[in-house]
């Protein structure tokens, strides 16, 4: 094996960042509290590194680690997401000063795990990468353990996560028994219909549960709203976005095995339909902003299934594009949530009242993010949905697309609720002033521009996504 370090530059860079944070975290207490502007700059450099290595291709680590268009696309997305979440988390009101470095250490570690996940093409490697990113998150969520909710959320996340990964590992043993290999390249060649290899299909279904858990797909979503509610806004912004990317990239790799018509593909489609319907209906009655976003993410996990079950390069590309769009629009909403909640408390819908007067730029960003999540043009969510629908139509799952269309209609109500509170209601005088520093406004502005740009000029990004999705299917 010839090992070419150029292939895994983003991972190496991220590891260096982690190493620096580690050194800092074992230093003197004074040193530990200082993250300062250096980490965001380092994360920004990470984006540059990831974007530069978008074209890299090759196999490393005994063919268990594949650097291709797909992995590089997702690594770039993860790097961008990491940069934004780090930026977002630098002003975290509920975090103990002493824990700052540890917090960022685990954040970086989790992102690193996700990067590894996007290149893993062998089941054990996938499993390890998944665990790496999960364990860091288990810690992160409990960091705010002074609050009871945070402790509950942490425990819930760990317990659910442990069960999910245990099932995944169990399923993995079935796959190994049924197909005699752990390499995806070999697995793809097998017949994945239930009649031909029942054991492997059951194993794969169990293995998928681990991914569904990360993705918060129905019925493995129970942790999601509670965890969002229990963690700090900034941590929730991370948990709600980046791990989804990791799960989606794995699902895209696995989706190449599932031809439309297979039982396992139909199962994915049915879960998708249930997930979007359940998520949207549950979100209708929520009043906590983070819970709304939590259920909305359950619904969005369902939408992404359309691309995965279509069995075409366009479908996989659409899923990749939608994943990126989802991260961008969700981060926009979370950015606003974090900035409005200056004291770190959980926002209720009524806390958003009159936001347009208190912070017009934040209100606008919130509107952009919410309308994008609805799928209203000209925002990113619309293009993403259009791509998903176009890719999925006529591949045997037309009913899924009709359900998705109807679901869009349901979801309008609660997304519009965010905008309605921000724009048409008047604020109480007691509500604390949101953070309107230039840091906050520039961030909101840039994120809105990103969401609008993905909607108005999706061509070049979709080209990348198509390269990513197309590299997997003939």
């Amino acid at each position: 094996m010839t090992f070419n370090p150029n292939l895994i530059l983003p991972e190496i860079y991220q590891f260096l960042v982690i190493a620096m944070l580690f050194i800092q975290s074992i230093g003197s207490p004074k040193m530990r509290t200082k993250v300062g502007p250096l980490l965001p700059i380092a994360a920004a450099l990470g984006v540059v590194v990831a974007v530069v290595s978008v074209g890299a291709q090759g196999l490393v680590f005994w063919d268990s680690y594949r650097v291709d268009h797909l992995s590089q696309f997702f690594k770039a997305a993860i790097a961008i997401g990491f940069f934004i979440t780090v930026l977002n988390a630098t002003r975290q009101p509920t975090l103990d000063k002493e824990k700052t470095t540890d917090y960022f250490l685990f954040l970086a570690l989790s992102a690193w795990g996700l990067m590894l996940l996007s290149s893993a093409v062998e089941l054990i490697t996938m499993y390890l990468a998944l665990e790496l990113s999960s364990y860091s998150l288990y810690t992160l969520i409990a960091v705010r353990a002074k609050s009871k909710d945070a402790a509950e959320a942490g425990i819930k996340y760990i317990l659910f996560g442990a069960v999910a990964t245990a099932l995944a590992l169990y399923g993995f043993s079935y796959i190994l028994a049924g197909m005699h290999t752990t390499y995806l390249v070999e697995l793809v060649k097998g017949d994945w219909s239930f009649a031909a290899s029942p054991m492997a299909v059951i194993g794969m279904s169990l293995f998928l549960i681990g991914m569904f858990y990360k993705l918060a797909l129905f019925p493995f979503h129970f942790w999601c709203p509670d965890v969002y509610e229990g963690t700090s806004n900034e941590t929730a912004a991370f948990v709600a976005t980046l791990p989804k990317l990791g799960a989606i990239v794995i699902l895209i790799r696995l989706a190449t095995m599932f031809k439309p018509g297979y039982d396992i593909t139909t199962m994915l489609a049915v879960l998708g339909a249930l997930s979007m319907t359940f998520g949207n209906l549950a979100a209708l009655v929520q009043t906590d902003v983070k819970r709304i976003l939590g259920y909305s993410s359950v619904a969005h996990a369902g939408y992404i299934m359309i691309g995965l079950v279509s069995g075409t390069p366009e479908g996989l590309a659409a899923a990749s594009f939608y994943a990126l769009a989802y991260v961008a629009m969700n981060l926009t909403c979370f950015w606003v949530v974090s900035r409005v909640s200056v004291d770190g408390r959980n926002l209720k819908l009524k806390d958003l009242d009159g936001l347009h007067k208190r912070a017009p730029a934040l209100a606008f960003a919130l509107a952009v993010g919410a309308f994008a999540l609805v799928g209203l043009p000209p925002m990113a969510g619309f293009m993403g949905k259009l791509f998903l629908f176009s890719a999925g139509w006529n591949h045997g799952y037309n009913w899924l697309i009709i359900i998705a269309g109807l679901n869009t209609a349901i979801s309008i109500y609660y997304y519009l609720g965010l905008v309605r509170h921000a724009y048409t209601k008047d604020a109480d005088d007691e509500s604390p002033l949101p953070d309107t520093s230039s840091f906050s406004l520039v961030g909101a502005g840039l994120l809105s521009v990103l969401v609008l740009a993905l909607g108005l000029m999706p061509s070049s990004v979709f080209d990348l996504a198509l390269g990513a999705g197309g590299s997997l299917l003939p």
Binding site: L386, G396, I401, R420, Y423, T424, L466
Partner: protein
């Protein structure tokens, strides 16, 4: 395609949008109003080349602009106009300055945002009427919801929140399936480009479902009975300019959708569903009129009358003869002018009396003769008095209906009579009722004269000399009628019974 020095349609779409961002550099409400007025006049000037270059008697799309947008999916930036959309574009552009003028003293809070919404709205509306790509159309179609929502929700009346939410939910829910239909057209026809899709013939089973998905979205927008319930709420709560845009432009998008998509793309299904659409249209005409008759809120009267008038339009469309189509398009234009005018008048009187109840505004004839003069003109036109513009449209729909089937024609007679009844009832009270709360209101000022005179001129011009309007629309409508005729014959529906076919389609979808 004619040679033009610059992309006219793009400039018409994007000039207001770009200009809207210019608003942020202005301080002071008057400056904002004057700036927006200037922008709207420039927009009018920008449309002059459209008039100069439009080829009468041509059924082709004109002023086409085409380039790639999302190449991977064949989504294009594709604009063009024909005889059908040309009139709608003109209507939209003419309405903009009127809206600015009629909100001059009406809007006192958040003036800058209000005008931003107006300009954004205009851009999106012109975009809807000129898009020749399904996705581009959908983008403008939905984008227009946001400013309209804000117009109602922020500057509306006491129940604005309820009304705006209802408006948004109804219309967006309607268009959720429109998106699915658009995708289905792309897969079945291989392109998003509307002119190319028009050339294709789809199977009846496909047309059946596509028609229903499209029709739901458009019927809500029109709005047709029984999807109309958002309209009175939205109209009554919206500020004057919002009502004007809603009545003049937004409702037309629904009927425009029928003309642009349902008829040419799903001709066989349109013929198949025509009896149902005609029945709903007649129901809208009678129902809208009957409810209007019982209202005391002037705005509600006009709102319900819109349901009735738009019923004439959808009826004309689904008669499939030339008179019906001409009448429909004429009524789209006329309703835009007359109802817009009436809403502006209601705004003017509301500024004086702070009430829209008829009984608070009795007896204006003696003190505000100019106001009553305009009101009388628009009211007469509204129920189709000969010599006014609506007469031309209504009579065409009547002729078309009688040509098609005397019974349909007979059904329209009570509709027309009810229209006269509610319009005369309210005009009578306004003009000669005995005022109880007279506070010495002044008659129309120069600004009000200006924004009322413009639609008044159109009332007479189209009413007395409709020839030019005919020339603009006829070629496109004749082509449309022929297309529907030939293409609906090309697809046979006789060998399949409709219920079996519906069942099979469901089975195919579920399979």
């Amino acid at each position: 395609m004619q040679e033009v020095a610059y992309p006219i349609l793009t400039s018409l779409v994007f000039f207001p949008l770009v200009a809207a961002f210019g608003l942020f550099f202005f301080r002071g409400d008057s400056a904002v109003r004057i700036y927006t007025l200037i922008v709207s006049v420039i927009e009018l000037l920008l449309s002059i080349p459209l008039f100069m270059g439009f080829k009468l008697g041509s059924a082709e799309f004109q002023f086409m602009e085409r380039m790639d947008w999302v190449k991977q999916w064949g989504i294009e930036y594709y604009l063009g106009t024909d005889g059908i959309s040309f009139l709608m574009v003109v209507l939209t552009i003419v309405v903009l300055p009127l809206c600015v003028l009629c909100s001059w003293s009406y809007i006192k809070t958040r003036v800058k945002e209000f005008h931003f919404c107006l300009l954004f709205m205009t851009a999106a509306c012109v975009g809807v009427f000129t898009s020749l790509d399904l996705v581009l159309f959908y983008v403008f179609w939905e984008a227009m919801l946001i400013p309209m929502y804000l117009l109602i929700a922020v500057w509306g009346g006491p129940e604005k929140k309820y009304a705006s939410l209802k408006f948004f939910l109804y219309t967006l829910a309607g268009s959720a399936l429109l998106l699915v239909a658009i995708v289905a057209f792309r897969i079945a026809g291989g392109t998003f480009a509307i002119p190319e899709l028009m050339e294709k013939t789809f199977s009846f089973g496909f047309q059946f479902w596509a028609f229903l998905a499209l029709a739901l979205a458009f019927a809500i927008k029109v709005p047709m009975f029984p999807f109309h319930t958002w309209l009175p709420a939205a109209h009554v709560q919206a500020p004057t300019a919002g009502s004007v845009i809603l009545a003049s432009v937004l409702l037309k998008m629904g009927t425009y959708g029928f003309l642009r998509f349902n008829l040419p793309l799903t001709p066989a299904a349109s013929v198949y569903f025509a009896p149902m659409m005609i029945a709903i249209s007649v129901a809208s005409i009678i129902y809208g009129g009957a409810v209007a008759l019982g209202q005391n809120d002037i705005k509600k009267v006009i709102a319900y009358s819109s349901v009735s008038h738009m019923g004439f339009v959808t009826l004309g469309i689904f008669l499939f003869n030339l008179h019906g189509l001409e009448g429909a398009l004429f009524q789209m234009l006329n309703h835009g002018i007359v109802t817009g005018g009436l809403f502006m008048m209601i705004g003017a009187i509301y500024e004086r009396s702070h009430s829209r109840d008829i009984y608070d505004n009795l007896g204006l004839g003696k003190y505000m003769p100019a106001y009553m003069g305009f009101w009388g003109l628009f009211a007469l036109s509204s129920f189709g008095f000969p010599g006014t513009n609506s007469f031309v449209g209504e009579i065409l729909v009547f002729i078309g209906a009688f040509e098609q089937n005397p019974w349909i024609g007979a059904c329209l007679v009570p509709g027309a009579m009810i229209a006269a009844a509610y319009m005369l009832r309210i005009s009578l009270k306004l003009a000669w009722g005995r005022p109880s709360t007279w506070k010495g209101w002044k008659d129309l000022n120069l600004r009000e004269w200006t924004y009322l005179a413009i639609p008044a001129v159109f009332v007479f011009y189209i009413g007395l000399a409709p020839a030019l309007t005919f020339k603009v629309m006829d070629a496109s409508l004749i082509k449309l009628q022929n297309d529907v005729h030939t293409k609906s014959q090309a697809v046979s529906i006789d060998d399949e019974r409709p219920l079996d076919m519906a069942w099979n389609s469901i089975k195919n979808i579920v399979k």
